[in-house]
């Protein structure tokens, strides 16, 4: 059995190019088939089901074919994944449902300031490649806490690592399942809760039987679907509008047109000067102050280099050299999507500005109502579900002339990518393709996250702490059971539609950054850092970050009264967002666990820093505490220092040997 698995794995690896070539061709043929069926008159609903059903079946097939009973195959795909394919798998692992569906929308709304996400989520890979990943690969960890335990000796560091991992990964996986449900609901007309459990099934068939090995090969397949689905609509758009299918180049012209239109709006009275300053597309620092903008970039970059589900992808390459190459490939594959997202945003903004703003309220195009009915497009502050609603809403505003002004129009960030095919008048097959791509992005990220969580629980807690003598077979059974339990817990949480979950995803980066980055980096680059320093540093850095997040969001009144917090400032006018004296005098000022609508929630803080960038406090504190406490206590033993040395040298095999029996 064992040899059979291995030899088939070997054949598979040497034939990868052919296998994925055929797969890509098959996918293209399938898309063409759907296009033909659409021409023949098959209803859209059926085409949508075919799209989603076919892609999930393919992922499930890969998952089943790659099933494994070997520990090293299950945890690190046997360390046989070539750099190029690991790059693709990391791309899919990394780009979440929100990146796929929401990123272009955020850039639409935030303009230049939204580019903090583009910069943060790509620049972080420089840190991954230079500071962290190759050294963890040399060590031969199965999980990130594995490294902490070996480097700092003992299970305290391991348990702290597991704690940080759970804190940042669980909300993230809930958001992925939520996104899956949302896409299935919108494109297939499924009930949201049913859709969530269907998504759960799609995730489990990939990861449960084959662990990392199955997830790797599924993620490669999912990357191909998601990148094709992301690029095609915007390429068509670019070709239609500028006669050149290179959206990344042509959107410069779109931006120039947007800027011209923006100036025209003020002249024609379609937007006030103040609205235009706050919403100008290329004007920097209208949504974030410069300090917040750069703090956010730093937190996203450092968070990227600390998220366990990303780092663990580099444990699967055949060598340290391949791990480095693999980070470069990952970034290239991620870059393909992220440098296209601003083009998406610009094209759809141009469309909205040139066709919607300045038009009569009674005369809105159909897609406005399609998404208005879902509450995703608002006009004059009301969901645009019918002409009557918006006409009534706008005439209720004093001095409204019945012509749509910029400030009357509101759009949810998810709509931009989802509606582009429709706005551009493309056939349904393209919309189905986008849905399949969004699904691939959400499923692949959920797979990676679930595996990271289940591995931490089964490998770090069960095997390393509770029962170190457990035989391999039992460990894998435990791991699979935990995977299903975590997945069910995540799906259950998602089906409750927690309002905060999407905001909490952005917290994951700050929590991972402050909790793990100092311990990982100093563990490799500073031999003098010892156990006491690491433990104190993780607790201090993670603690401060968590404190800032929880207090500013849920206990803002306490933050103002006891922690010296003040109101955040409007980035354009520098005026406080809330009148603190008035808000603190209100009866609800000192309530705890307040809702997002509370007047103070996420509107107070230290030094005018948004809580999305809270690692800006935890990160330096974590580094400083780790450094100082290490210097005040005894140096690590000679063995540990030698251990660090061997992590630094690629030659000589992994340091953590696995017993396979």
């Amino acid at each position: 059995m064992t040899t059979q698995v291995q030899s088939s794995g070997g054949d598979f690896t040497s034939n990868l190019g052919r296998i994925y070539g055929i797969y890509t061709g098959g996918f293209a043929a399938f898309v063409i088939l759907i296009a033909i069926l659409e021409k023949v008159g098959v209803p859209n609903q059926i085409l949508g089901y075919m799209f989603v059903g076919f892609t999930i079946l393919v992922y499930a097939f890969i998952g089943i074919v790659s099933r494994t009973v070997q520990v090293s195959e299950y945890y690190v795909a046997g360390r046989k994944v070539p750099a190029f394919y690991n790059g693709m798998a990391t791309g899919a692992d990394w780009m979440s449902g929100a990146s796929f569906v929401g990123m272009a929308g955020s850039l639409f709304l935030l303009g230049y300031d939204g580019l903090a996400f583009v910069l943060g989520w790509t620049g972080g890979y420089v840190l991954v490649a230079v500071l962290v990943a190759p050294f963890l690969r040399k060590f031969g960890a199965y999980t990130v806490p594995d490294f902490l335990a070996a480097r700092y000796g003992g299970n305290t560091a391991r348990m702290l690592g597991v704690m940080v991992l759970l804190a940042c990964s669980f909300t993230y996986v809930v958001a992925q399942i939520f996104a899956t449900g949302l896409i299935a609901q919108r494109f297939l007309g499924m009930d949201f809760v049913v859709a969530v459990y269907v998504g759960l099934f799609g995730i489990l068939v990939c990861s449960m039987l084959g662990g990392m090995r199955a997830v790797t090969w599924t993620q490669v397949a999912q990357y191909i679907v998601l990148i094709v689905a992301y690029l095609i609509p915007v390429i068509i758009l670019s070709a239609q509008k500028y006669g050149l299918p290179l959206p990344q180049l042509t959107y410069g012209a779109a931006i120039a047109e947007i800027t011209a239109l923006e100036q025209g709006f003020v002249a024609k009275g379609l937007a006030t000067e103040a609205v235009m300053t706050a919403k100008s597309h290329v004007q920097p620092f209208t949504s974030y102050s410069p300090a917040n903008y750069f703090a956010l970039i730093l937190c996203l970059m450092v968070g990227t280099a600390s998220l366990p589900h990303v780092l663990m992808r580099y444990f699967t390459t055949p060598s340290v050299r391949d791990a480095r190459m693999s980070v470069a490939w990952s970034l290239l594959f991620i870059f393909l999507l992220y440098f296209t997202a601003p083009a998406y945003a610009a094209f759809s903004k141009l469309e909205v500005y040139s066709t919607l703003i300045g038009r009569n309220i009674a005369d809105m195009p159909a897609w406005v109502f399609t998404y208005g009915k879902l509450g995703l497009v608002t006009i004059c502050g009301k969901a645009a579900d019918s002409v009557a609603t918006i006409t009534a809403a706008c005439s209720a505003l004093a001095g409204h002339t019945g012509v749509l002004r910029l400030q009357d129009f509101g759009i949810n960030t998810d709509v931009v990518v989802l509606s582009t095919p429709e706005i551009a008048g493309l056939p349904y097959v393209i919309a189905g393709l986008v849905a399949a791509g969004g699904l691939a992005a959400a499923l692949s990220t959920a797979d990676g996250l679930l595996l990271a969580i289940a591995n931490a629980l089964s490998h770090d807690i069960y095997y390393k702490v509770i029962d170190p003598k457990a035989p391999a077979a039992r460990r894998l059974v435990i791991s699979r059971i935990l995977l299903v339990l975590v997945a069910l817990a995540a799906a259950w949480t998602a089906s409750k539609r927690p309002a905060d979950i999407l905001a909490m995803v952005s917290w994951a980066f700050s929590l991972a950054a402050a909790g793990l980055f100092p311990a990982l980096v100093l563990g490799i680059w500073d031999k003098r850092t010892n156990r006491a320093g690491a433990i104190a540093g993780i607790i201090a850095g993670f603690g401060v970050t968590l404190f800032y997040l929880v207090v500013t969001r849920y206990f803002p009144g306490f933050g103002v009264s006891y922690a010296g917090m003040s109101s955040l400032l409007n980035p354009v006018t520098n005026a406080p967002l809330v009148d603190l004296a008035k808000a603190m005098a209100a009866p609800n000022a000192m309530e705890g666990w307040v809702a997002g609508t509370h007047p103070l929630a996420s509107k107070v803080g230290w030094f005018n820093i948004n809580n999305i960038s809270s690692a800006i406090f935890g990160l330096p504190i974590g580094f400083a505490v780790m450094f100082i406490v290490s210097r005040m206590t005894t140096a690590p033993s000679k063995e540990l220092q030698d251990f660090v040395d061997s992590c630094r040298r690629p030659r000589g095999g992994t340091l953590m040997e696995e017993k396979t029996a």
Binding site: Y112, L115, V118, L119, T122, G123, Y125, V126, L127, A129, V130, L131, P134, Q248, L249, G252, A253, A254, I255, A256, V282, P284, P290, Y293, F294, I297, L298, M301, S319, V320, R321, R324, M325, V327, A328, L331, L332, F335, Y338, F339, P342, W525, D645, R648, R649, P650, R651
Partner: protein, 85 residues
């Protein structure tokens, strides 16, 4: 193990790391601090400051990582610490 190539290996590795971090800091932060003056320059219709955040820095990051993988491998080979192919 012979201490001399060892020290040399880590010294060169650290120097490469610092070079990479310097480039990373410049293209991740420094250049975007000058977004307003850069926006006065236009290429293909893009204001340059906007372009750097949307594409320019990203392209540099990608190129940096491929170059880094090569450079670090050369350092490992010179010191005799590279893995067998």
């Amino acid at each position: 193990m012979n201490p001399t190539p060892d020290d040399e290996h880590w010294k060169r590795t650290s120097r490469l790391m610092l070079t990479m971090m310097g480039l990373w800091f410049f293209f991740g932060y420094v250049i975007h601090a000058f977004v307003v003056p850069l926006n006065a320059i236009k290429i293909f219709g893009f204001p340059l400051g906007f372009y750097m955040a949307a594409q320019g820095s990203l392209i540099v990051f990608v190129a940096m990582l491929f170059w880094f993988a090569k450079a670090q491998d050369r350092i490992d080979r010179d010191a005799g610490f590279a893995e067998d192919e």
